[in-house]
Symmetry: C2
Subunit: 316 residues, 2 copies
């Protein structure tokens, strides 16, 4: 009887994968750099070479029900990665089909952020929820939307690109999309860094611990370290980030009326310094019928785990 599934999370830099049992326990896991492979076939070869011994340890292919994958621009309908801006493989990559042939196992693909939302729903803090939204605050801003217990994929499989919604029309230019004022341009690690540079340049007379760092060292972690030491500009940066994020979350809530919003990813390490302004601006921009109802939570799952678990859950 098949008792395991493979969960694979393809990120712009790293691909994480693991063997998951029906209880949602990751028995074994490893990783692989994503963008060192010019063509997807080479990537699959390497993945296979790494996974085969792991699979053999638990009894081989016949023990597996299938493979679940999350990837940027992964389309659940077509099983293809379509025009992912952060990957080297351009155009339409029918990766589910290629994996299925290589591993001889049924393979399902979805968007990486949707996979994380599935992980949250099956094993995380959204376990009992039918309506919630996960927002990943990492290098970029990803999102997975659950309505009536189902991931929203929409008419063509691409729903849930909330990081690219516009919250400051005519605002900051997004480096890779060219769009002006999108959520991702502000509420990501990259965005926090840009806000830091903006504020330090705008107020050259204001003292700040951040001025001791080189432009290269000015990361969201540095800003956080300075903020907890009471640095005013560093705190202003998180206040501003929380304002933009909170306003965006208010808009999302008035769309789908979720029970909770689950935040996720590197930026959430800032904890209350990010959460407090986010909550304040979220509530301030909601109609009264939505106020003080929606839970704003941090994911309890390890980021890598959620993505692997979520991807693996696609196949059960």
């Amino acid at each position: 009887m098949s008792t395991y599934s493979l969960g694979i999370d393809i990120g712009g830099t790293t691909t994480k994968f693991g063997i998951v049992n029906a209880k949602g326990e990751i028995l074994d896991q490893d990783r692989l750099p994503t963008n060192q492979h010019e063509v997807v076939e080479d990537f699959i070869e390497d993945l296979y070479a790494k996974l085969l011994p792991m699979m053999d340890k638990v009894g081989g292919t016949k023990q597996f029900v299938g493979i679940g994958m999350g990837a940027p621009n992964g389309n659940i309908y077509s099983g293809a990665i379509e025009y992912a801006p952060n990957l080297k493989w351009k155009g339409i990559i029918p990766i589910a089909e290629l994996m299925q042939k290589k591993f001889n196992l049924p393979t399902k693909l979805t968007n990486d952020a949707n996979a994380a939302a599935v992980g949250e729903m099956m094993y995380g803090c959204a376990k009992e929820m039918k309506h919630f939204i996960t927002i990943t605050l990492g290098t970029g801003v990803g999102s997975g939307i659950v309505i009536d217990g189902k991931i929203v994929v929409g008419h063509d499989g691409f729903a849930g690109e909330l990081g690219h919604t516009i919250i400051r029309p005519g605002g900051r230019r997004h480096k890779s999309t060219g769009m002006l004022g999108s959520l991702e341009a502000y509420a990501s690690a990259t965005g926090v860094r840009e806000t830091a540079i903006e504020l330090l340049t705008k107020f050259p007379e204001k003292e700040s611990l951040l001025r001791d760092f080189s432009i290269k060292e000015l990361t969201s972690e540095t800003v956080y370290d300075c903020a907890i030491q009471g640095d005013t500009i560093a705190n202003d940066i998180f206040e501003f980030t929380g304002q933009i994020l909170g306003e965006s979350l208010a808009n999302f809530i008035m769309f789908s009326s979720p029970e909770a919003i689950v935040l996720f990813g590197g930026l959430t390490k800032a904890g209350a310094i990010l959460l407090n302004p986010t909550r304040k601006h979220m509530e301030a921009n909601l109609l009264p019928i939505f106020q003080n109802k929606v839970k704003l939570l941090f994911s309890e799952l390890q980021e890598a785990d959620a993505a692997i678990l979520g991807a693996s859950a696609l196949i059960w």
Copy 2:
């Protein structure tokens, strides 16, 4: 056998109601002023007095499967109108229960905009669609969201308040909610009127046909009449309205990836003068994977009909 249903659409000013058969034909209809009744019980009495003879004409109550109602802030879970800002009946009004007792017929209630979306799905231009959004551009901006063939009501029944999403943070103050920069403050009949006053005041030197009208006469209809005569300011008003609406629609599309957006309500009489800038700004604010895919349609149903039909369809 029960062969008819009652469809009732409660608006801020007028309540429209009709008898609908299973094919979606309105056999008889009438209307009633909504806000002349201080208490909801009097309203129901008047409604009953008007409906009873209509129902008797087709064979009486026993011919009816039930009553479907749409109302502002109508909650499908509770069957109550909850804190509707535009109605005289304050607080929580358990109208479905009251109607059920009075008419002795099962009664379902939903948000008025959701009822219109149901009408569009069952009898209008979204007949074959599983994913679409209806936007009502009237005195205010209402919305109904359909995902996987179902109206999105969310965790507490209030989903789909897209008119209150913020598209110009810190922008125009909404007269009744007090919120700054919401879609409804711009892309409604009221919003068009405000934009007209703003532009006429901002550019006192610019000639415009609109200057011949009193502030009272300056309605969205007047602006449209002047626009088709080639008036520059009147055209600028629709360009601006379309820009705000288009930017908002782009955000909604990146949320739920619908097949179409169906526009609806008084403002759509402006036709291409509104549709062209809306489409332009919608496409310009979409990620490439969403561009040139989403249909932007005008409803083909009469506004009153869609609401009555949609409400009646709740009960089938």
